[in-house]
């Protein structure tokens, strides 16, 4: 069965430091992969997605992620964290049917705290 693992439940970084959030997936075919961010009391906002092409994906707010098939990973990175990045981050894999994907399986999330 498809699954997504985010090994880090909680991460604290200093403002200005670099960030990497880990995501591993289990999927039989080429996955469609997503990173979402959820700020307190807010819905989910799509940061970036991958479904084909260049394995290094650029997203909004200065985030990027790299798809590594050999490691079944899709880690999210940001070179310099801002205090406003404090939020919960979810990795998700899209389950594909007939060339399209029609539901998402989410990881358990990583809560990011940013120290001044």
């Amino acid at each position: 069965a498809q699954s997504v693992t985010q090994p880090d439940i909680h991460i604290t970084v200093s403002e200005g430091a670099s960030l990497e959030l880990r995501c591993n997936y289990s999927y039989g075919a080429t996955p469609y992969l997503f990173w979402y961010v959820q700020s307190p009391g807010q819905g989910l906002q799509l940061l970036l997605k991958y479904f084909s092409g260049d394995t290094l994906v650029q997203g909004i707010k200065g985030f990027e992620a790299e798809f590594k098939r050999s490691q079944s990973s899709f880690n999210l990175r940001k070179p310099s964290v801002h205090w406003s990045d404090a939020a919960e981050y979810f990795c998700a894999v899209g389950q594909a049917y007939g060339g399209a994907t029609n539901k998402l399986i989410f990881g358990t999330g990583t809560l990011l705290a940013v120290q001044p």
């Binding site: 009391g41 399209a100 998402l104 999330g109």
Partner: protein
């Protein structure tokens, strides 16, 4: 990407009652999805709602507890029936947009007392 209006944004309900959550999209979409996010946990898909057909429920979710309507291509409702405190969660609707991106509503924060 699509804009989703979801309401109510939050509610406090008595156990044994029902709450209907509405999801309005600003464009026509084939599939709409309903998710539950229990406190401190990730999102779990409840069901997929296609216009003109019965919703498809995931394992562990049943129509009697979570009836869904999908009367047209821009609107859906999810009802949480006969509520108990265990139903206290955030409920979110979602649609698939262009290029496989998914948009989510801002969620309904439900507390059952």
């Amino acid at each position: 990407s699509a804009v989703i209006s979801q309401k109510p944004s939050r509610d406090i309900c008595q156990r044994g009652t029902s709450l209907t959550i509405q999801c309005q999209v600003d464009s026509q979409v084939t599939m709409m999805f309903w998710y539950r996010q229990q406190p401190g946990q990730s999102l779990t898909l409840i069901a997929t709602a296609n216009q003109g057909s019965e919703a498809t429920y995931e394992s562990g979710f049943v129509i009697d507890k979570f009836p869904i309507s999908r009367p047209n291509l821009t609107f859906s409702t999810l009802t949480v029936s006969n509520m108990s405190p265990e139903d206290s969660s955030i409920y979110l609707c979602s649609v698939q947009g262009l290029n496989y991106g998914y948009t989510f509503g801002s969620g309904t924060r439900l507390t059952v007392v």
